[in-house]
Symmetry: C2
Subunit: 362 residues, 2 copies
C-alpha cells in the first residue's frame, strides 16, 4: 500500500487569525489561573505582571505548540498549561528586554519599567519566571512523568539558549561591534528568537502530541528557517513603523543600535566616511526621549542620516529577499512533513503560518 | 526505653568557619560544573556569571542544607547539586538586587552592573536562573523521583516568596513609605530573606535527609526566628561598616532608603520636624557616587543627619536587642530539636549557627 498524501488548505488571513484568537483566549484563561489574584501583592507585583500578557498580541508561540500537539492527536487540556508557560516566559523576556534596551513602548503602550520603575520591573520578570515552575511540576499529574520532565528540560534549554543569544547581542551593542557577517546575525537570531519562538513550542507540541523523533526533526528544520525569516521580517517592520498606527516605536531598532541584517548590510555597502560616521552615532546611548537628545546621545538628525544610508543601499529590500528565500524553503519542507499527518484545522494552521510570517508586513 | 539525649558541643569560631569553608569548596566545584566553560559566550556571559559566586563569601545557605541533610544521615553526593543551586539562586538574586538598589559594591568589589553594564547584568541573572533547572532535573536520577520533584517544588516556592517580599520592599521605597510597624518589617524579611536563606535550605536538607514532618516543622520554627535575627544583624552591620575594612558600603542602606528595623524605629521616635526632613531626604534618589550628589539627590550631609537621628534614638541598640531576643528563642527551640538527632559534626554546626548569626558583628 502506498502512503496517501491528504490534501490540505493552509489557513489564511481571518481564518488564521481566528485560530490564533481562539487559542489565545484559552491561554489567557490559563495565565489568569497561574498568576495569583486577591493577594496583598496585587498592586506591587501581580497587577503589573498581568500588563504585558493581557495587552494586544498574537500569541503565536502558544498557538504553535497547541497546533503541533493537536495535529498529532494530542488533547487541548494536556498542552494548555505548557502553552501558557511559553507565553509567560516570552512576556518575562519582554519585560527584561525592554529594561535592557531602554525601550519606550511595547504593544502600543508605555513599557512596564517606564510605568512602575526599573527595579520593580526587573522583579516582575523574575516573579514571572518563578511562577512558571509550578504548572510545569503539576504537568507530572496531567501528562505523566516522562513527558512532564521532557517539557521541563525543553524550558531549561530554551531559557539558556535565549540568554546566550541575548548576551551575544548585548555585547555587540556595548562594544558598538557591527563588523558582522550575515551568518553571525543569523546564528544570534537562532538562539535569541528562534529557539523560544519556534523550536521550543515545536518540541513541546511534539512531546505532548507523541511525535516520532523523525517528524520532530523535520518540524525543527522548518522552525529554524521560519524563525530567521520571522526575525528579519520583524526588523523590516520596525523600520517601516511610520506607516503603522500603533505598537511600534518609529526606528526603535536604530535608536537602540540593534543589530539587524538591514543595518549590517547597509554598513557593509557604505563608504568609509559614511561607515565611520554611522558607527560613531550607533556607539552613543539613546536619549530618554527623542526631544531630550544631546551631543552625547543619538539625535533625530543622526538617526535620519542612517535611515537615508539604509535607503540608498537598498538594505530593506535585501533583508526582505533573505526572509523570502527562507520562507520558500520552509514552505517546501513543511509541505512534505505535514503530508504525513491526518487532515485537521491544526495542520492547516501550521501550513498557513509559513506565509503568515511574511504576510505580516501588509 | 526512654529516649537518650546525646550531648552536643556547638561549633564555634574557627571550627564553624572550617565547616563552612569545607562545604563551600565542594559547592564551588559543583557550580564550576554547572556553569559552562570553553563556550563562545565566555566573555559575554559565563565569566561575568562566575564573578559573584567565586568572590569571598560564607556560603551559609548551602552549608545549612548540607548540615541538615547530613545530620539526618543523608549522603553528601545527594545534596550537593541542590546546595549548589541554592547558592546560584542566591547569587542571581544578588545580581538583580544590586541593579534594583543601584548598589556600588558587593563583597568588597564593584557590583556586576557597574562592571559590565545594567543590560548584561540583568541577562547574567536570568541565565543563572536558567542554569539551575538542569541540575534539579538531573536530581531525579541522583535522589529518586519523589525527592527530586519535592526539591523542585521548594525552589519554585522560594523564588515566588522572595519576589513577593522584594516587591513589597521596592514598593515601600518607591512611595517613600516608612510608616511601618515592626511587624510589617518582620513579615517582609520573612519572605525576602528568611525564605531562601533558612527555610528552603532546611526544607531541602529535610527532604534529602529523610526527616519526619514533625522534625522539619521544628527546624522551620528555628529558621523563622534565626532568619529575622540574621537580617536585623545584617542591617546593624551595614550601619557599622565604617569600622570594617572591606565588603560593605558605608551607610549603604541609608543611601538606598532601605527599610530596616533601625530606620523605622528612629523615625517613630523622631520629632515631627526631624521626621518630615528625613522623609524628604529618603524620598530622593541616590547619586551615582557620593561625590556626584546634587540638590535632587541624597547628599552626604543629609545621610549624616539621619545617622545622627539614629544615634540619638538608640535605634541600633533597639535592633540589636530585637535580634538577640530571637536568637535566644531560636537557641532554646533548636536545642530540644537537635537532641532528637544522633551526635555528628553536622549537628554541632547547626547548634553553633544560632549564636554565629549574632556573633558576626565582632
Amino acid at each position: 500500500m502506498t502512503r496517501r498524501t491528504p490534501e490540505f488548505s493552509p489557513l489564511e488571513g481571518r481564518e488564521l487569525e481566528a485560530y490564533l484568537g481562539e487559542v489565545r483566549g484559552l491561554v489567557l484563561d490559563e495565565i489568569d489561573r497561574i498568576i495569583p489574584s486577591g493577594t496583598r501583592y496585587e498592586e506591587q507585583l501581580y497587577r503589573p505582571m498581568r500588563a504585558y500578557p493581557f495587552r494586544h498580541a498574537k500569541g503565536m508561540r502558544p498557538a504553535l505548540a497547541v497546533a503541533v500537539s493537536r495535529a498529532l492527536g494530542g488533547r487541548i487540556e494536556a498542552i494548555l498549561p505548557s502553552a501558557a508557560v511559553l507565553e509567560l516566559y516570552h512576556n518575562a523576556f519582554l519585560v527584561h528586554d525592554d529594561v535592557e534596551d531602554g525601550s519606550w513602548s511595547r504593544r502600543g503602550l508605555p513599557t512596564l519599567h517606564t510605568e512602575i520603575g526599573t527595579p520593580a520591573a526587573i522583579n516582575v520578570g523574575d516573579a514571572m519566571l518563578a511562577l512558571c515552575l509550578r504548572p510545569l511540576l503539576d504537568n507530572t499529574k496531567l501528562v505523566g512523568l516522562g513527558p512532564a520532565l521532557h517539557v521541563l528540560a525543553s524550558i531549561a534549554d530554551m531559557a539558556r539558549e535565549t540568554a546566550e543569544g541575548q548576551a551575544l547581542e548585548l555585547s555587540w551593542i556595548r562594544h558598538a561591534d557591527y563588523d558582522l557577517r550575515d551568518a553571525d546575525y543569523i546564528r544570534m537570531v537562532h538562539q535569541k528568537t528562534t529557539w523560544y519562538t519556534f523550536l521550543t513550542p515545536i518540541r513541546i507540541g511534539c512531546v505532548l502530541g507523541g511525535a516520532s523523533a523523525e517528524l520532530e526533526c523535520k518540524l525543527r528544520r522548518w522552525g529554524t528557517l521560519i524563525g530567521a525569516a520571522f526575525q528579519i521580517q520583524d526588523d523590516v517592520l520596525n523600520l517601516e513603523a511610520e506607516e503603522q498606527e500603533y505598537g511600534k516605536e518609529i526606528d526603535g531598532d536604530l535608536w537602540e543600535g540593534k543589530h539587524t541584517l538591514i543595518l549590517v548590510h547597509a554598513l557593509r555597502l557604505a563608504s568609509a566616511t559614511e561607515r565611520a560616521h554611522a558607527l560613531k552615532v550607533l556607539a552613543k546611548p539613546r536619549p530618554p526621549t527623542p526631544a531630550e537628545a544631546t551631543e552625547a546621545t543619538k539625535s533625530l538628525d543622526e538617526i535620519q542620516a542612517i535611515r537615508a544610508l539604509i535607503e540608498r543601499t537598498k538594505s530593506i529590500d535585501y533583508a526582505r529577499a533573505a526572509a523570502r528565500r527562507r520562507v520558500e524553503a520552509a514552505a517546501a519542507t513543511l509541505e512534505r512533513t505535514l503530508a504525513e499527518l491526518g487532515a485537521s484545522v491544526h495542520r492547516d494552521f501550521l501550513a498557513g503560518l509559513t506565509t503568515y510570517v511574511l504576510g505580516r508586513s501588509r
